[in-house]
Symmetry: D2
Subunit: 306 residues, 4 copies
Amino acid sequence: MELEALLKEIVERNRPLTDKGVVAHYIPELDKARKDALGIVIKAVNGKEYYYGDCDTRFTIQSISKIITLMLAMLDNGEEKVFSKVGMEPSGDPFNSIQKLETSLSKKPCNPLINAGAIAMASMIKGPDERARFERLLEFARKVTEDPSIDVNYKIYCGEKETGFTNWAMGYYLKGDGVIEGNVPAALDVYFKQCSMEVTAHTIAQLGLFLANDGVLSTGERVITPRLARIVKTLMVTCGMYDESGEFAVRVGIPSKSGVGGGIMSVVPRKMGIGVYGPSLDHKGNSLAGIAVLEDLEQAIDLSVF
Amino acid sequence: MELEALLKEIVERNRPLTDKGVVAHYIPELDKARKDALGIVIKAVNGKEYYYGDCDTRFTIQSISKIITLMLAMLDNGEEKVFSKVGMEPSGDPFNSIQKLETSLSKKPCNPLINAGAIAMASMIKGPDERARFERLLEFARKVTEDPSIDVNYKIYCGEKETGFTNWAMGYYLKGDGVIEGNVPAALDVYFKQCSMEVTAHTIAQLGLFLANDGVLSTGERVITPRLARIVKTLMVTCGMYDESGEFAVRVGIPSKSGVGGGIMSVVPRKMGIGVYGPSLDHKGNSLAGIAVLEDLEQAIDLSVF
Amino acid sequence: MELEALLKEIVERNRPLTDKGVVAHYIPELDKARKDALGIVIKAVNGKEYYYGDCDTRFTIQSISKIITLMLAMLDNGEEKVFSKVGMEPSGDPFNSIQKLETSLSKKPCNPLINAGAIAMASMIKGPDERARFERLLEFARKVTEDPSIDVNYKIYCGEKETGFTNWAMGYYLKGDGVIEGNVPAALDVYFKQCSMEVTAHTIAQLGLFLANDGVLSTGERVITPRLARIVKTLMVTCGMYDESGEFAVRVGIPSKSGVGGGIMSVVPRKMGIGVYGPSLDHKGNSLAGIAVLEDLEQAIDLSVF
Amino acid sequence: MELEALLKEIVERNRPLTDKGVVAHYIPELDKARKDALGIVIKAVNGKEYYYGDCDTRFTIQSISKIITLMLAMLDNGEEKVFSKVGMEPSGDPFNSIQKLETSLSKKPCNPLINAGAIAMASMIKGPDERARFERLLEFARKVTEDPSIDVNYKIYCGEKETGFTNWAMGYYLKGDGVIEGNVPAALDVYFKQCSMEVTAHTIAQLGLFLANDGVLSTGERVITPRLARIVKTLMVTCGMYDESGEFAVRVGIPSKSGVGGGIMSVVPRKMGIGVYGPSLDHKGNSLAGIAVLEDLEQAIDLSVF
């Protein structure tokens, strides 16, 4: 079967699954997403592109942004400094858990992809003030996704900021432990904005392609070293799908990062980037039908790294 | 021996112990306390008063204020509403621990005398804004201690507010769980101010007397019901001395509440209130020599409730 | 009202509450208790005795035995050795919780009245083998309760031993941490037998009287020092009613220890011992109607230590 | 450079590192290992074999056996039954941690490669009694490693059994939660024996080759399905190196499983199996120089799956 036909077949086969999940609704604006939306974009390293379904719908990038912030934090501060502030280990806890910050001996977030670690990364983006720091992050996001249209959904940003109390709690707790060196509200401001950037499945597929190419843009420009690209891809395997990462690795086996906006960004090393959109979520916060689409795709064309 | 002579003997016997502790220094201003200061005031229900040592030194009330806020919160909201927001159980954890807020099924602070519970209480003091709310609390504090001279040490208040990151974290975490209903910075502002009220050993001995009289002032005015007084005294036994409460109950057996400013406020029901000051602390945060003074006093004149 | 009439009135008023609880049924034999049974015995220091209701029903002593084992462990090993193996602090966790054994820095059970601490105490009873060690404990139990009829219900003992897997887990965990020095199955054998001793409300009222008299039998013989008696009574206040101890202290305020067999043993210092039997339990494992009976009794004749 | 020369160069370059670790010594017999021993065996899918260093030294397989038991447990019970008893997620805790068994809602061990999960797997090996069950496991181990010489080191087995109290605790805790259905001592007996099987670096390299071939022996016989092989390899990535798995995935990126006997078994999918031996361990329990050897090898010939 042609790949495009395959994508259509897989998306339509899994669309009924969207009925079993729930659209994120912790902010009113988020719950406006069409529950049965589902789409996939594949961008291959040879320049070819395949897609089907709801690929032009804009949605907030949410936790997928943690990948972008991690890369810029490493560029701004170096790998060593970054990993003096966060670990590299899966946490075994939900993404917004605070207890290990208290109980772990190291006093640092387990990894940069749980909320606490991501807030720490946001605090490490350089710039004279939070506005400038986020501007740099936004420019960097536009660059690595090759999508100049990315912008913040300010209604969602304000909602996140006004209701994200657990994130505020984590920010202050990290400050108390010295993980965050600067101002807490500034770090959280960067974090809430980064989560509220709007993208499409095309945007995140391009980000996946960037990582599949080990950090090189379609123009040939190298933005991060292969070493940094590998760190990112590895963390996506072990920690990318919240506390469903282990099961996802077994079922699908492709380095991926999800967001509660419904996106999943996947990387098939040296082969392709994949962007999936499906806002109906399972109880871990991952796109329910999106995971099924990736699982079917992997079984059809064997993309697992394992 | 006369009681006054006994007090002198006990204070001087225990003063060398102050050498083994450490004065709180998490805020620069706090560490100006004289490390070997030690004093005790006893106010009996028959109106007699006995004291010896450093009884006129002003120090910040710190956690002893949690008793005052708890009483006003119960008056403002009723016992039932208050204990829908905090529990009555000892926590078994340090005073500033955050993990049980996440792991406990009830999602409420274990009791009103750990920091999380006390911040919840501060959020329940009524008033149009945080200024007015603290003013009410301050007036209530002056009333139940019969000490109109109480005021905030603003240098310490600012220090607490600027460095109390774990308290900020708890405030936001409680907001996320719905324990705090209002504004978080407002609740914390009340909390940091209440901790920074300056008192002497006389002030807190009077507070102890008020509770020994089951909530009646020296004027005969009843301020709280015997039921509320009993709740307070009971919580002092089970939770009043941080995570040293169990051992203190065994060694001393008098309902007490300590603060890192060096104070201990004790209640011998129907007999007397006791105020102790000794800023050199043990590693749990309790006055090292202060506990020893209370233990010796109890052994000399049998005050234990057990 | 005469005290005997009062007891009748209180018991009958609260008997309907037994309907709302549940009889322990983790072992088949236990669930044979009559759910609506309820009785109370008061033994005053002046030798007078008052009782009403189901006071002659035999039931297993369960956790109330922890008080007896603690006393003998202190006699056998000294206070210092005992408290090098267990703490004196409330745990804030359910009675059979294992997690703090791993997370606490001290690596010892919080107190001797949670299961882990009680198993540690059972391991400290002296004797050449587990048979002899339990025989000594049984003799000691008969002595302090002045009830030579106490014996083990072997059907329940076998049931406890065969199904008490969490207790087995704790025993081995404590061995790994060096808290238990001897053989684990031997310690558990003592523990399961001590829990399976059968008593009546009279038996435990007499134990309460022994503690109310600070460790002196009706014959005038002193068995434990006042110091040890006080340790026991204090631990009963802070840890005696499982993780309902704080609320019980507020509501009732009498040092008490409960067991899932339905018993509550209470001590009014220098006044009386109280034994209550009511096998219908609340979800914390305490006698539902038994607590209500004590609360009503305390309100009628003011017995609180606070 | 020839591969054999490369291996020599890498082993000798890293041998000095053995000085910085420590040989396991929780059982006297274990600490007899030569601390500076270091060796590596590579077995390629094309039948070629390369090795250098201490490759014929026998050592106990320890946690690497968990891979073998997991495979047989899946063959005996099916994937679905197995993963109804253990999860697939990294735990974020040390291998012998017990607390998540209590705090996790699922009440099952996080994954089959931490001790609790491995003991659950051992309980699922079929057979009339523990002797027969271990015999089946031993035969299976000999088959998948194609090494008929594997046998138990009974001195170490007895040591593990007599001192492995935390494992005993976990076994009983799992029984209490219904994760272990059969007899606890039987399950532990299988577990302690499996850990005490003696192998060489050749043996575990062959096991790695078996997995690299997706479950096919050198004879061409398929023993497990590709699906099961993939589950195993994926769990090795996320959970194979204790709570150093995340960092190892970043540094080396080859699915691997370590044991405190000093072995590391690695799989380069569709390419080769690798066996490393180096008994000097880092503080997480992994072969210190062994990890360095794998890291250097990966950088020399690019074996990472990422």
